[in-house]
C-alpha cells in the first residue's frame, strides 16, 4: 500500500523509537505535521526554532537518546544553525528535520528557500537533501545511525515539500542495508589491545598520574568503568566542563573541574603530572591554557573514538582510538593482570600528599557579603545546591554563572549537568532545561541562568507553561554581561564598553508571571533559602527566581586567555601562596 512521504517520515521516526520531538510548523514542512496528529510521538510546540534545537539537546544530554527537532524551511532552518553547531561542538546526538521548497523550485530563490544543506554542512556530522519519498526511511535510519554511533553529533534531513506529498512504498531497511549504503562510515570502537597494554604499563610506572576525563566518558556511558579504573589505581580524576558528574564530586579521588576557571588543585595537578590519561577529552584551549606551557612534563595517553582528535592539539605518547567504555574496561583488565603477575604500581604517595596539600591550601572561596550588602552569586548557588532534591538536573547558560555553577555544584551522578561547553551559546539554559525535564520528567530540573542569557531565549518559558513542563530557573542578575565585564575590568583597565544591561529592566518577576510562571525576586541573603524552598515546592508550573547579585563579583581562579596554566590568578585571599602550585 502506498503512503505519502510525510507519513513515511513520521512512521520512520516512530520506528526509531522517537517519543517526543520539538518543533514549529510552517509552509514547506506542513505535510509532515498532518500525520503527526495520528502519531504516538509527542510534539512540543516551541516559540522560536532555536528553542526547539536546544530542547532536543537538553533531552539528549540527560537521556542519551537522540533529540529530534522539526522545523520548516528558510528562516526556521537558519534559526536551527546555532543548536546544530552547539551539538556538533559538544558531540550531542541530535536529528534535525527541516522543510524545503519543492524540488522543482529549488534554486529559484523561492519563498522561504535557503540552501539548508549548504549552510549546515560544517555544523553537522552529516546532512542530506531528500530528493525522493522512497529514500525517506533509509535516510532517516542513516541520520539516527550516524548521530548516535562513533563520536555522536547532529545530523539533518532537508525534505522538500513535494517529496513529503509524493506517494511511496514503505520499506524499513535492515541494519545490513544501512551499512551497505554507508561504505565510508565504520567507526572504530574497539581500542587496540597492544596500545591498551602499553597504556597500562605507563600507568603502572607513573609517579604523578592524573585521569583527565572529558565528555566522551559520558557519551560512552563509561562512568562506572571510570570509577573502577580510578579506584583500582588510586589515580585522581579531573572532570572537564563537559564531564562534570562522570565521577561524583564528593568522591575522594575527584579533583573537580580543570581549566580556565577550574579549581587550583585540578589545574596544578595537570600541570605537574608526569602522566595524563586523557579519556574522551580533546585538549580544548580552555583546559590547556597556552599550549606550550601545558603539562610540560607529562606523557599522554589519549583515548578518543575520533581519530582526528589524536594529535590534533597535543601529540600523545599512546594514542588509543576507541569507545571510552570499551577501552577503560580493557585497561582495567590489563592492569589487573599485570598487578596479579607481580608488576607493582610506582609509589604515588608523595604525589597524593602534594595533591591533598593543594586541596587544603586552595579551596574554592569567595568573600561572603555582610548583611545589607548585595548577594554573592556563589552563596545563592550553595543554597540552591544544598536544597536541591535528590537527582536534580542542573542546566546553565554561558558566562560567569555557568562557571560558578560548575564550581559550586556538587555533582553526584552523571547526566545531571547540561551546558553549552564548546560553542558557549548564551541562551542555552532555558530551552535546554525544558528538554531535560521532558526527558526526565520525574527529576527536578533547575537552570542557573544569567540576566543576559535569560533575555535571549526566555520566551520558551511560555512553551514550558503551556506544555506543563515545570522547570525552575534561577537568574543570577547582576545587570551586566558579567563575564565580559570581568574581562574588561581585568584586561581593559576597567573600561566598560557595552556590558551594562539595566538594573530596572526587564522586570523579571512580571515577565515570569506574564509567561505563566511563578516569579520570585530575592535581594538579601535571608530571603535566599525560603525562595528556593518555595520554588522547590511548586511542581505544577515553571518558577523563575531572580537573585539580585553583586555585579563586581568575579570568577576565580582564572587563567587569563593566552596565559599558561602556571599563571593562574587566584582569589585575593590565596594569591600570596600561589608559588606552592608550581
Amino acid at each position: 500500500m502506498k503512503i505519502t512521504g510525510a507519513q513515511a517520515l513520521i512512521r520512520a521516526l516512530e520506528h526509531e523509537s522517537v517519543d517526543v520531538m520539538f518543533g514549529l510548523p510552517g509552509g514547506c514542512i506542513l505535510p509532515a505535521y498532518d500525520p503527526l496528529l495520528e502519531s504516538t510521538i509527542r510534539h512540543i510546540l516551541v516559540r522560536h526554532e532555536q528553542g526547539a534545537g536546544h530542547m532536543a539537546q537538553g533531552y539528549a544530554h540527560v537521556t542519551g537518546r537522540p533529540g529530534v527537532a522539526m522545523v520548516t524551511s528558510g528562516p526556521a532552518a537558519t534559526n536551527m544553525v546555532t543548536p546544530l553547531c552547539d551539538a556538533y561542538m559538544d558531540s550531542i546526538p541530535m536529528v534535525a528535520i527541516t522543510g524545503q521548497v519543492s524540488t522543482t523550485a529549488i534554486g529559484s530563490d523561492a519563498f522561504q528557500e535557503c540552501d539548508t544543506v549548504g549552510i549546515t554542512r560544517s555544523v553537522t556530522k552529516h546532512n542530506e537533501l531528500v530528493m525522493s519519498a522512497d529514500d525517506i526511511p533509509m535516510l532517516v535510519r542513516q541520520a539516527f545511525h550516524i548521530a548516535t554511533t562513533g563520536r555522536p553529533g547532529p545530523t539533518l534531513l532537508d525534505v522538500p515539500k513535494d517529496v513529503l506529498q509524493a506517494q511511496m512504498t514503505w520499506h524499513w531497511p535492515s541494519d545490513d542495508e544501512v551499512a551497505a549504503a554507508l561504505p565510508g562510515y565504520r567507526p572504530t570502537t574497539k581500542g587496540h589491545q597492544k596500545m591498551i597494554k602499553q597504556a597500562a604499563r605507563l600507568i603502572l610506572a607513573a609517579e604523578r598520574p592524573v585521569l583527565y576525563v572529558g565528555g566522551g566518558v559520558l557519551k560512552a556511558r563509561a562512568a562506572e568503568a571510570l570509577r573502577e579504573l580510578a579506584e583500582l589505581t588510586g589515580i585522581h580524576v579531573v572532570t572537564t566542563l563537559m564531564a562534570r558528574g562522570a565521577l561524583p564530586d564528593d568522591h575522594p579521588l575527584c579533583l573537580g573541574m580543570p581549566g580556565m576557571h577550574g579549581n587550583a588543585t585540578a589545574v596544578a595537578a595537570m600541570q605537574r603530572a608526569d602522566l595524563l590519561i586523557a579519556l574522551g577529552a580533546r585538549f580544548d584551549d580552555r583546559v590547556t591554557g597556552r599550549l606550550d606551557g601545558f603539562a610540560p612534563d607529562a606523557k599522554v595517553i589519549h583515548v578518543d573514538i575520533d581519530p582526528a582528535e589524536q594529535g590534533k592539539v597535543r601529540r600523545p605518547d599512546v594514542p588509543i582510538v576507541g569507545d571510552c567504555r570499551y577501552v577503560i574496561e580493557h585497561l582495567v583488565t590489563a592492569l589487573r593482570q599485570m598487578m596479579e603477575s607481580g608488576n607493582e604500581q610506582a609509589d604515588t604517595s608523595a604525589w597524593k600528599s602534594r595533591i591533598s596539600g593543594w586541596q587544603e591550601q586552595f579551596p574554592l572561596t569567595y568573600t561572603p557579603s555582610d548583611s545589607g550588602h548585595a548577594l554573592k552569586p556563589q552563596f545563592c548557588l550553595e543554597q540552591l545546591r544544598d536544597a536541591a532534591p535528590e537527582g536534580t538536573i542542573l542546566a546553565s547558560g554561558v558566562g560567569q554563572h555557568q562557571m560558578w555553577a560548575s564550581q559550586y555544584w556538587n555533582f553526584k551522578e552523571p547526566y545531571t549537568w547540561v551546558n553549552s561547553g564548546g560553542l558557549g551559546t548564551m541562551g542555552f539554559a532555558v530551552p535546554a532545561a525544558i528538554g531535560a525535564k521532558v526527558g526526565c520528567p520525574d527529576r527536578t530540573v533547575w537552570a542557573v541562568d544569567g540576566d543576559g542569557c535569560f533575555q535571549m531565549t526566555a520566551q520558551e518559558l511560555v512553551t514550558a507553561s503551556v506544555e506543563r513542563i515545570p522547570v525552575k530557573i534561577g537568574i543570577l542578575n547582576n545587570s551586566y554581561l558579567g563575564m565580559v565585564r570581568q574581562w574588561q575590568e581585568m584586561f581593559y583597565d576597567e573600561r566598560y564598553s557595552e556590558v551594562y544591561l539595566s538594573t530596572e529592566l526587564p522586570d523579571f518577576v512580571k515577565w515570569a508571571e506574564a509567561m505563566g510562571c511563578v516569579g520570585i525576586r530575592v535581594e538579601s541573603p535571608e530571603e535566599v533559602a525560603p525562595a528556593i524552598d518555595k520554588a522547590n515546592s511548586i511542581n505544577d508550573r515553571p518558577v523563575v527566581v531572580e537573585f539580585r547579585v553583586d555585579a563586581s563579583e568575579k570568577v576565580f581562579p582564572m587563567v587569563p586567555a593566552g596565559a599558561s596554566n602556571d599563571d593562574l590568578v587566584l582569589p585575593a585571599s590565596q594569591s600570596a601562596q600561589g608559588a606552592a602550585l608550581r
Binding site: R121, S122, H126, P183, G184, D306, P307, A308, G311
Partner: protein, 179 residues
C-alpha cells in the same frame, strides 16, 4: 608561480568518495573550514560508477597532512584515502595552451610541441592551440618554454595519480579504508 619549486611541500591524496550530490562541496568546504590549502584538485567517476576519485594535491607547508587525512576521513561520503608518495606513484596531467604565433614563430612552437610529444589542436591566423599530457614536471618545463612566445590562454587539469604497481612487494602507499 613556479610550480616546480613548491612540489617538495606537496602531497597527493587520492580520495575515493561516494558519487553523490554535494560530495565535492563537502570536501572543498572541509579544506576551507579547517584552513587547509588545496594546490590542485581533479575529480571524475572512478572504476565503480557509484564512486568518484578525487585527486587532491595539498600544500603541507601550511597544514599538517595527518590532520587533513583524518578530518577528510570523518566525512561520511569518503570511502578510502590513499596518500601517494610521488616516488611510488604515477602522476599525469593535461595542459592546453593557446600561443600567440606570428608566422615566423609558429614553426618553432610546432617544433617545441613535437619535441615534447604534444599535439597541435588548432591553428588560427596568429595563434595556435597545443596540448600536452604527461608528468606535471614535464608540463612545467613545457610551460616555461612556451612562455617566451606569449601565452594567450592556458589551462591545466591538475594532476591525477595512482599507486605505482609494485612487482616485488605489497604496495607501499599508506591507505585508510573504512572497516
Amino acid at each position: 608561480m613556479n610550480r616546480s619549486d613548491k612540489r617538495t611541500t606537496h602531497h597527493i591524496l587520492s580520495v575515493l568518495v561516494q558519487n553523490r550530490p554535494g560530495v565535492l562541496a563537502r570536501v572543498a568546504g572541509l579544506f576551507a573550514r579547517r584552513g587547509y590549502n588545496i594546490f590542485s584538485l581533479a575529480v571524475a567517476p572512478a572504476e565503480n560508477d557509484l564512486q568518484s576519485r578525487i585527486t587532491i594535491v595539498v600544500d603541507v607547508e601550511t597544514s599538517p597532512l595527518e590532520q587533513i587525512v583524518k578530518q577528510l576521513f570523518k566525512l561520511i561520503d569518503v570511502v578510502k584515502i590513499s596518500e601517494l608518495d610521488p616516488a611510488d606513484s604515477v602522476e599525469r596531467e593535461l595542459l592546453l595552451a593557446t600561443i600567440r604565433s606570428v608566422p615566423d614563430a609558429r614553426s618553432q612552437v610546432i617544433e617545441l610541441t613535437s619535441i615534447f610529444e604534444g599535439k597541435i589542436l588548432a591553428v588560427g591566423v596568429d595563434a595556435i592551440t597545443v596540448s600536452l599530457e604527461g608528468h606535471p614536471a614535464k608540463l612545467d618545463d613545457f610551460e616555461a618554454l612556451l612562455d617566451g612566445y606569449g601565452i594567450v590562454e592556458l589551462q591545466r587539469t591538475g594532476r591525477v595519480a595512482l599507486s605505482k604497481l609494485d612487482r616485488t612487494a605489497r604496495a607501499r602507499a599508506t591507505t585508510r579504508k573504512a572497516g
